[in-house]
Point group: C2
């Protein structure tokens, strides 16, 4: 910009700080573009979309060397008036495509006017999502056909896209070409196109007559039990509707392995399950669309995550190979598809992105957890566990990241537990046991009162106390251990029957009566054993990865998934589900897989990022590691036969340690060996 000319004015944009001199009369949006300032626009500066709003900052700005006044922008225009009366505008806002520079000015671009705005996430320790969707809308004014310049309609649309939006060489779907002429003529040669951009380049995937400013995307986590969907506005990133449905594949088998068995027993069974899950997804899309007041045809993208078997069945791949060693995935790489290839009833041009799987037991859901929690950007060594029938485990930091899966079985979900049930109203989810009286109190889902508080009986009258869910069993066992009702080796201590009527003999073992009702809720010796097996497997998997990384302790632990977000991390540590860590650094990430799916939906760069991370992740197959069994045995004790849990001990009053035979033979032996390697030797 030539400096010092009287017909030029100095323009400074905040928060970017970009500045330049422009001739008086230059539209603010034009100036912003020439400086590379990020301002959104769908209509391309025609005062229709209202995405490009800015605010003039009034005052003397010594650091910028200018005085910015309201009069330094052109007066409020008819275009702005029309937009405000139709759609509304906050006070002080101007349309930057219409307002022109009249003198020196400082112009603020509010977050909601930026293309690459950030979607704020709830937890402080994770990064915000930067908006960078693969599919975007562009309004076009297309040249009309002219016999003197014989050119196809598509070519003129492509020329408009290049001239008005700088998008060169966009191909078009056949479905777009089919409806293009009608859309152009209906819209008077003004159309809005949706352009999807990926490694294959830009591609027009949808077209509408005239102006249109909203399209939507779905982030879907296909779980074995539940399919959860978030419908997002692809411009703002906002979740406009969420819903979940039971995975209809449950009728073919409750858990993953029984579904694989169904395929092995019933040739073609995979196709039935594929059809079922796709239909459920289409129905779910219709449901969230209805909730948001849009049509399923307004959905232009969908991102999927899921465990390897759900991943294969969604894609229509027979999952039989995943049912046995060597657990070979058909394809672990990320897939970019058309929604129509999966028979999904979205917009005909809708695109699907499926996150990569990590290994035969570690799926795209875990890749999504990694994308959400970004251990690969962390300096700290983080352990992330997503607990389900299998526990998927990530361990590492920005230098190395390892992944494994541990066969925990369904105990954490309340299965194999005598009074176990799914987390539903009436289930006990919180437990405390008085260290002196050994009397329990508890909370059930659907009631905010503790069982010993006044009014509890009335409050739960309608719900009942029906059983105990996964988080409840963890707390019950941890409290029993802390109260001395369970020994470190997991034996329910029958001698405590002398102090409380709640301990009762059952054959040669004992149980603890948590709730004397109908049904009675007891914790049996079998229940403790089931949880010991599950938590031993979980710990052993984590410990195995720690061995591979050559570390003895982790700096941060994150529990992901529905179970992970309901259990109290301290109780999880008391029981020894996870290795010792400062309790302040143990937290839950909620539905991290769903969040990862949402990130991949809203930010196309995140797709390349997670694909690269997954390629670099070191995959450990627990089944072929002899050390896994060894760790498993040591991890059966509560919290552990040998691991010291010193950080936990600072926060919780742990019972005194008993020295067991296993400790002598196992970790103890190793720590002696290690001692020989110390500098003092």
């Amino acid at each position: 910009m030539p400096d010092g000319k009287t017909s030029d004015a100095l323009l400074v944009f905040t928060p970017s700080g970009r500045r330049g001199r422009f001739p008086v009369g230059t539209p603010i949006l034009t100036a912003a573009r020439s400086l590379g300032v990020d301002i959104d626009s769908v209509c391309g500066g025609r005062g229709i979309c209202g995405r490009c709003q800015v605010v003039l900052s009034e005052g003397e700005f010594a650091k910028h060397g200018l005085t910015s006044r309201a009069g330094h922008l052109s007066p409020w225009s008819a275009v702005e008036e029309r937009y405000r009366s139709k759609r509304g505008m906050k006070a002080g806002r101007r349309l930057s495509c219409t307002a022109t520079l009249q003198g020196d000015a400082v112009i603020d671009v509010p977050a909601d006017s930026q293309v690459h705005k950030q979607v704020v996430r709830k937890r402080a320790e994770v990064r915000a999502i930067e908006m960078n969707p693969a599919t975007r809308l562009h309004y076009l004014e297309v040249e009309e056909p002219d016999m003197h310049k014989p050119q196809g309609d598509l070519e003129r649309v492509q020329a408009a896209l290049a001239a008005q939006w700088g998008i060169e060489g966009a191909a078009a779907d056949l479905d777009v070409i089919r409806v293009l002429q009608a859309a152009l003529r209906k819209g008077g040669f003004r159309i809005t196109v949706a352009v999807h951009e990926d490694r294959a380049g830009p591609r027009i995937v949808a077209v509408w007559p005239d102006f249109r400013d909203r399209i939507y995307g779905l982030a879907i986590d296909v779980g074995s039990t539940t399919i959860a969907a978030h419908l997002c506005d692809l411009a703002s990133g906002e979740v406009v509707a969420s819903a979940g449905v039971m995975n209809p594949q449950i009728r073919f088998g409750e858990d993953l392995m029984s579904r694989v068995s169904y395929v092995l027993m019933n040739p073609g069974g995979d196709r039935e399950m594929t059809a079922a899950v796709r239909e459920a997804i289409s129905d779910l899309a219709a449901e969230v669309a209805a909730e948001a007041g849009i049509a399923p045809g307004d959905i232009l993208e969908a991102v999927f995550v899921g465990n390897p078997i759900m991943h294969h069945l969604l894609l229509g791949i027979d999952p039989s190979e995943l049912g046995g060693a060597p657990f070979a995935l058909a394809a672990g790489t990320a897939q970019s598809l058309r929604a129509s290839e999966l028979d999904l009833k979205l917009h005909p041009g809708a695109r699907v992105y499926v996150l990569p799987c990590i290994a035969g037991h570690v799926g795209a859901d875990t890749a999504a957890v990694a994308l959400s929690e970004t251990p690969y950007l962390s300096d700290e060594i983080a352990l992330i566990v997503d607990v389900g029938t299998n526990a998927e485990i990530l361990l590492g930091n920005r230098h190395r990241l390892l992944a494994a899966s541990s066969p925990t079985g369904p105990a954490f979900e309340g299965a194999q537990i005598s009074c176990g049930q799914r987390a539903a109203p009436g289930a006990i989810e919180r437990v405390r046991i008085d260290r002196e009286t050994l009397e329990p109190r508890f909370k059930v889902i659907g009631c905010d009162l503790w069982s010993n508080e006044p009014g509890f009986a009335q409050a739960v009258a309608g719900i009942g106390v029906t059983g105990i869910c996964g988080s409840g069993i963890i707390e019950a066992l941890a409290e029993m251990y802390l109260s001395g009702l369970i020994r470190a080796d997991g034996i329910v201590d029958g001698t405590k029957g002398a102090r409380t009527h709640r301990i009762a003999g059952e054959g040669r073992t004992f149980s603890y009566l948590l709730h004397d009702g109908d049904p009675a809720v007891r914790i049996t010796q079998g229940d403790v054993r089931a949880i010991q097996l599950a938590k031993g497997a979980l710990y052993a998997g984590a410990r195995l990865l720690m061995d591979h990384l050559g570390i003895d302790r982790v700096e941060r632990v994150t529990l992901a998934g529905a179970f992970g977000s309901h259990i109290d991390p301290v109780y999880a540590m008391v029981l020894g589900l996870i290795p010792d860590c400062d309790p302040a650094k143990v937290g839950s990430a909620g539905n991290a897989a769903g969040t990862g799916a949402r990130i991949a939906l809203l930010n196309t760069a995140a797709r390349a990022e997670i694909e690269d991370v997954v390629r670099r992740i070191e995959k450990i197959e627990t089944a072929v590691e002899p050390k896994f069994q060894e760790h498993f045995v040591g991890a059966m004790a509560i919290p552990h036969a040998t691991a010291p849990y010193t950080e936990l001990a600072k926060a919780v009053d742990l019972p005194p340690r008993e020295v067991t035979a296993a400790a002598e033979a196992g970790e103890g032996g190793r720590s002696r060996r290690r001692r020989r390697g110390t500098p003092a030797a």
Copy 2:
């Protein structure tokens, strides 16, 4: 290569002339690859495919400085024996993957062992087709899954493709991923993949267990009347079967405009016609496949050409916009699709390429003609006309190329002609008239004798003489003109009735009796007028392009298409269908559109070439050019009111010129003006 080592030998490849020293024991194929010598292979050097055959040239080669002996290759091996006994091998041939270097040798790579072999074309003036198909087969030996290296099957296939064939980053169709595991396990982790490569990169589109060495492609010209298909071997380029069927859209309308009218009158009519043509193409594919003894599923590619309306209907685009000004194409650019998008019953992974259209009246068929005839590579200025209901015209050379379409109407196809008929047995196709007696002789399709030769009557007894086809009417009119039976203005000269009974009055006009049978075949005044209108339009189109190019004469004329290949170019010139040119430089190209389709099928580089050419072609819309009418009027005369036809006059005895009023007013005036600009002035 280190020179002079005793354990090295000198190896020279012919015809490439590439040479190098290699350790004794090096397989010839390995040496060839390291030198970049083009030798084909599907099995990657495993002695299965037999594509890599070479011949040792024996003797002293002074220019190469070596002596090449049979003993300088390793002895005939068991692998070669196995291959020969199974598939046969010409004497002297060796498998270069198996035979190893034992001493200095000259090795010839026969044409059929080269990947980029050339497919020889029949006409001398056009270039050969270099083989460079978009889809190729690659045999792979894939690593088996291993729990210690958790990796998906696709990832191991991709790794094998990179390691064994140097193809990096190949994606895979979902259909391939779905069947990949079964194919790998059925083939014992040996598979053959078909890799399609285009601008979007390499992509695995098909997979088969174990070894496979043939795939096929279809080149299809979708004409308004006939759909013609050539089935080609994608490795050799050979046409293995050809067939044609009537375009079933004929039941919706005989010609293009009546089909557009059908759509305008019957909403959804375009969808009926799309379904009809696609079904016919699938049937045609099945027919040629059966003829070649293969399955339609062995067809991996299809290339389509056709006029704009056929192009749109094939793609499922409503062609209504092409029915009226400004004749806007929905999309003129080339289309790369999956066959499944067009509902074609080929291999599920088959790809379709549709050549670009040039303008609303000048289709992908004309682009294919350009690709076959390559005027854009020529130094000479060539005129290429493809005559149908519309004549598509290309004019230019490697500096500039112009295209237009002229509305000739259906007269050249025998329609609008009183005794006209399609070119079928019984139709008169050749005509001669004795200049003295004015007696005709003729030939009919299906009989090699002239009508005045002995045995003609018996020979045509079964066929009959049923009418006159397009090429016959051209010759009849030209001979009538040369015999003085028609004047330059097209009037059938009634005064000649004095010399022959064959001239008869019909109202105020006269006709000429060509064949006195049942039916009688007459050339009426109306017939002459119909041909005059058609040829006037054709000439005017060509002349208009000559004006745009600023030239007065063309150096070469090529007649393309079925009509163009049947008419005698000299007679075409006598009638003035085409501008004056040395008759030795006027020829026919046969089915150039079909040839162009075949080139695009066999050579992927040709696709980029024709797309680039089509972008650069200057499109002239005859309907908006005032000069077109002027040229049309002048071109109604035979051969032309004013154009001199001096080259033609050297070869043919033309009747003396009559000076007409039009000549005085039109071209005459212009030639006077031009004279003023000569150096003598």
